[in-house]
Symmetry: D2
Amino acid sequence: MAETSNAATASMAPELQTSGWFNTPRPITLASLRGKVVVLHTFQIFCPGCVQVGIPQAQRIYQEFDPDRVAVIGLHTVFEHHAVMGPDALEVFIHEYRLRFPIGIDKYDGEPKGIPLTMHAYRMQGTPSLVLIDRTGHIRLHKFGHVSDLTIGFSIGTLLSEEIDESSGMAEAIPTGSGGSACDTDGCSV
Amino acid sequence: MAETSNAATASMAPELQTSGWFNTPRPITLASLRGKVVVLHTFQIFCPGCVQVGIPQAQRIYQEFDPDRVAVIGLHTVFEHHAVMGPDALEVFIHEYRLRFPIGIDKYDGEPKGIPLTMHAYRMQGTPSLVLIDRTGHIRLHKFGHVSDLTIGFSIGTLLSEEIDESSGMAEAIPTGSGGSACDTDGCSV
Amino acid sequence: MAETSNAATASMAPELQTSGWFNTPRPITLASLRGKVVVLHTFQIFCPGCVQVGIPQAQRIYQEFDPDRVAVIGLHTVFEHHAVMGPDALEVFIHEYRLRFPIGIDKYDGEPKGIPLTMHAYRMQGTPSLVLIDRTGHIRLHKFGHVSDLTIGFSIGTLLSEEIDESSGMAEAIPTGSGGSACDTDGCSV
Amino acid sequence: MAETSNAATASMAPELQTSGWFNTPRPITLASLRGKVVVLHTFQIFCPGCVQVGIPQAQRIYQEFDPDRVAVIGLHTVFEHHAVMGPDALEVFIHEYRLRFPIGIDKYDGEPKGIPLTMHAYRMQGTPSLVLIDRTGHIRLHKFGHVSDLTIGFSIGTLLSEEIDESSGMAEAIPTGSGGSACDTDGCSV
């Protein structure tokens, strides 16, 4: 099975770059989700594999797990046919499919065209892609295509069981940037 | 099971009123399909029941039956969220779902708004709707929602087996309009 | 699709040879079903393809069609592991799976061993096998493995639509045996 | 979702009482599986919910997880129709469904009749039942009927992540029986 990668060598998950959200009163950042396991599900509304397999799976995860411990986040990563997959179409899709979990719109550098920014930062291969982020913000599973419910359930169980080292992991979530430092989404270095 | 209605009392199927087509070199009229059984499948691209059940069923029918005897026709009958279900979005949907059968766009009287003309003429209740039209152009099954493969197969088998009375049924397909007559899509009356 | 064979060249369906029945007050013969289309579904209780696909399909057919026009008949054609697929095991299977249509036990020439008599007479390749018999008792579709609901529905619709030639077909169903003649299940010859 | 119970208050899993095994060169005891998470799946070969849902799920678990860490064990707990669900029938079932994981036969106190011993010891409500046993031999999830893949995956991930307290948990797995002790299937206490 696809297993989660080692905590010690995992990369920090790049922050989401979004241009809009549904099903949430305010934009969601990964930084604000530290302490929870994050299930990031990316899709496109005209991607058959997303609509038939990925989205129903995201809904099952959202329904089965406690939102205080597991955050299910959808991300509309449109990398083709941009003209017909804008925010209005996404809104109708979310409404008609009765999706309840927060769904963001991946942002473009300028006009919608090519691969959006978050998708690019994660080097995703396409849609659907699934990213599991641990409670300290590190990417522990990243897969294009179908991932079984057993694997996802197992990974969530594993990540929720990890002890968080307050002196390291959580510190990353509260970066204390200082003047002159080089900062990226992982934190700041002197 | 939902059975086909009696041939003697069936209504003529109103002619399709369309503003565009995919998967066909030229517009398709029901009149041109006389002699074949027509499976008319109406849908909307953001209707979950259509995408998950109706469209795959239409594909199965298209794959199983001889196109010289059974014509599978899709019709995009958009009656809500018109702004995001235009021809461009439909084209992407057809491409991504790899649909091969002819699909028309139900026409509006003016701007896309409310119920389109063909949907209105058939008094359809919503999407998906299935209409089976016999070889003389009469509506023999008309159902909103799910219809089983067994029922559709049975109905096609029944309608293909009917003898066509050349003196009545086929005459409707070859209207011999005369001067001064009032003609509609069903034929012409004096 | 698998289509029904031509009525003119079809073979008469060999009569069922059974050693017991469930879900019927008395043994069923094909001869007694003349005038109906017969759906003969053969299976074994430890055949995964039968239990997962064939049996549920037979149930759907039984539920959708009028029993006065379409007779669904199950036949337990055990050709392996005879010791554990006897009548007692079949009875439990029928009870637990809540099957309601008549199910016969294919008979052996002597002890249960090898291929039973009806299965042999039909030259079936294995289980599940589906046989469609028209209203005059002729085999019109005979297939080993999976047959789609569309195909079965279509075939039933086609066979139910056929006119029965009273001077030939039905005569077979009402054999008027005369002294000294050789009769078989097809009729009687002088 | 159905969550695993607390390790501190969980009961020790009663030892399996079996009269035979398939897919294993020698009988399997829970005691021998200490250190692994055990997925105990109980079923009957004529139980539709087992055949259609439970058994395929057990196969998925067996295929997805490392057998050195997760032991999938089937147990045939026949509590009705004993005459037709004996070892010979079970053997054919295992062969035809191509099951590869070890499957034991729940034992009776005397002749096969009523509820077998392991099923009784676990107070199972019926088949299918799923029992998850942690690495120290404690029951952490016990459910009659369907359990989702997400829940099972999550529970396995959680149980595999638990630290084993050598001074307590593992001690149970390595009972150091002393004279005069009271022993049960869990081990022996002074």
